[in-house]
């Protein structure tokens, strides 16, 4: 086909035709199995429509079939990059409905596990962010550090990805002997590493050029689309469930909630979403140090009957996962099976805003956009 086309009005010259491109469901940069149907005019996108559901397992329906205790391992699969926090959300929903109080040491174990999980997830997010726009090396470094956390979590619960560590009423196992010292050793090693990652990646000129001022989400848009967690905070909204709707023992710890400041571009651009996660890793390390220092003695799990039957009632539970406020709506009807479970995840909201943000964006920036939202496909599809 010739590139030279004739216009309807008889003018001669170059004209561009709109292309429809398919991206995914198998694509190395789409963070799981998801698909975009892109209409593009040359390198500029007119729209990128997300087609999701490839990983839909109807986890919410499974909950209605397997019972309160039995659903715990399934929550690992809602967000397999940060399974600890989804474990915790389910346990909390059941505990609120059943009126169970978690022992203090149990809560501390949860916080230690959840914050290690958060660092783990943010490391992957920051590394993948670099890799998606062409900086391969930082990813290998990030994954190397993540291995150390995987080792720690494996020692804690026997699994490296789908932990199934928490239980209704507490956690499955106490910390192994010498564990706090081991985590401290990791933190001593890890905190300087965050600075190294910062030196290596954050202020690299090419990195900034690729991310600053790209796909800016204003404060109003972010809220209207229910963006949560780091994606919301990058747009300048200081809201963190751990701080503003506190649960577990988080009120006992001192930590900051970093927000985007538009350091290299505009508040709410891709670079801001990246840097908020980098800062959050430092804050998680800070929380971990306090949790290890204040670790109380005692049991780690409350007595919960095997035949757990919370009285009829409904509840909304919010947990700050690495992908933000995860909202669980759980209905109990007094039987040993939950009547209804609905999970509104951070990635779900982030996926729904992509179509609007993609208009007028360069094709190559779509991967940067997806990575900056830290989307994990199974969390969208459930």
């Amino acid at each position: 086909m010739s590139l030279e086309l004739e216009f309807d009005d008889g003018r001669e010259g170059f004209a561009t035709e709109e292309m429809t491109l398919n991206m995914g469901p198998q694509h190395p940069s789409t963070h799981g199995v998801l698909r975009f149907i892109i209409r593009a005019d040359g390198e500029v996108m007119r729209s990128a429509k997300a087609d999701v559901g490839f990983l839909h397992r109807s986890i919410e329906k499974i909950a209605e079939k397997v019972g309160w205790h039995g659903f715990m391992p399934y929550t690992d699969r809602v967000d397999y990059v940060a399974a600890m926090t989804t474990n915790q959300a389910w346990a909390m929903a059941a505990e609120v409905l059943g009126g169970v109080t978690v022992p203090r040491r149990g809560e501390y174990c949860r916080v230690i596990a959840a914050e290690l999980g958060r660092i783990c997830s943010h490391l992957l997010a920051a590394g993948a962010m670099g890799m998606d726009i062409g900086a391969i090396t930082p990813f290998t470094h990030a994954v190397r550090e993540r291995e150390l956390i995987n080792d720690l979590l494996e020692e804690l619960c026997g699994a490296r990805l789908t932990f199934n560590y928490m239980r209704i009423g507490g956690v499955a196992w106490d910390l192994p002997p010498g564990y706090p010292a081991k985590v401290l050793r990791f933190l001593d090693h890890f905190e300087p590493y965050v600075d190294e990652l910062d030196d290596l990646l954050s202020n690299n000129k090419i990195y900034i050029e690729r991310l600053a001022n790209v796909a800016v989400v204003t404060r109003e848009r972010a809220i209207a689309y229910t963006l949560v967690g780091p994606n919301l905070r990058a747009s300048g909204v200081r809201y963190d469930i751990r701080k503003h709707l506190p649960y577990s023992v988080y009120p006992e710890f001192e930590f900051d909630v970093p927000i985007g400041a538009g350091l290299h571009g505009t508040v709410g651009d891709c670079w801001d979403r990246y840097i908020v996660r980098l800062h959050e890793m430092r804050q998680s390390a800070k929380i971990l140090r306090q949790a290890l220092e204040g670790l109380p003695e005692g049991p780690v799990i409350a007595k919960v009957p095997r035949n757990f039957k919370p009285a009829a009632g409904e509840v909304h539970v919010h947990v700050e996962t690495p992908r933000g406020d995860q909202s669980w709506y759980v209905v109990a009807d007094g039987t040993e099976y939950p009547y209804r479970v609905h999970i509104r995840t951070g990635s779900f909201a982030a996926m729904s805003i992509i179509e609007e943000l993609s208009r007028g964006l360069m094709l190559a920036d779509l991967v940067a956009l997806i990575a900056s939202f830290d989307i994990v496909a199974p969390e969208v599809d459930r």
Binding site: V52, G53, H56, S58, E60, K61, V96, L97, D195, D198, D199, S202, N203, N204, R219, E220, R221, I223, A224, Y225, T226, G236, V237, R238, Y239, H244, D256, V257, P258, I259, G260, A261, L263, I275, V276, L278, H279, A311, A312, G313, E314, V315, H316, D325, S327, Y329, V331, Y339, R340, H342, R344, F348, A349, M351, S352, I353, E356, D381, R382
Partner: protein
């Protein structure tokens, strides 16, 4: 060394100067009742959750009011869930609203008939409703009137039925792919 400076601390850059403090469910219900009359029910409780039931035909107007009244300012639809209640012949929609301005929460509920489940879309009030409503349409079969793009979201377009309905029966096959697995343990043992 190229270290990134620390981002603003907890006190700086907080956009909450005009915050008047949160309102409780009863006060919000009263405001709504004054404005919309019989379309707004009393405060009800599902043990741990206080909610107000409203008419699905004007839920969009009510939501717009909730968003735009300065002392309510519900700028965020945090969650929208559907629950099938065959015993009552209803499908319940639960809207969890949140205000980043006042930091308060409000739960709205729309009860819609199971045979013809429908409610006005709130997509024009909060953009997040677009996908949340598509999900409920997909999994529970609720028709959101006025929605710009009401298609299935998670399941394939040609899927039959709505799996989160309590009486849903899975089809034995999908495009010739069996959904049941025969197990050797169900066969009679060979002698």
């Amino acid at each position: 060394m190229n270290r990134t400076p620390t981002l603003p601390g907890p006190e700086e850059g907080e956009a909450g100067k005009d915050r008047q403090g949160p309102m409780n469910t009863a006060a919000i219900q009263q405001l709504l009742h004054e404005r919309f009359g019989a379309a707004v029910g009393p405060v009800e409780s599902a043990r741990l959750l206080e909610y107000v039931e409203v008419d699905g035909e004007i839920v969009d107007e009510i939501c717009l009011f909730l968003r735009d009244q300065p002392d309510l300012a519900f700028d965020c639809l945090n969650n929208l869930s559907g629950t099938d209640r065959p015993a009552r012949g209803k499908i319940q929609l639960t809207y969890e609203l949140f205000s980043y301005v006042h930091r308060h929460t409000f739960i709205l509920r729309v009860d819609t008939s199971r045979n013809r489940p429908e409610a006005k879309t709130v997509e024009n009030v909060w953009s997040a409703a677009n996908w949340l409503e598509r999900e409920i349409y997909d999994l529970l079969g609720v028709n959101f009137i006025g929605h710009s793009d009401l298609r299935r979201l998670l399941l394939p377009d040609d899927w039959v039925g709505h799996p989160l309905r309590k009486d849903y029966v899975e089809a034995p096959e999908y495009h010739g792919i069996s959904t049941v697995r025969e197990s050797i343990f169900n066969r009679p043992e060979r002698k």
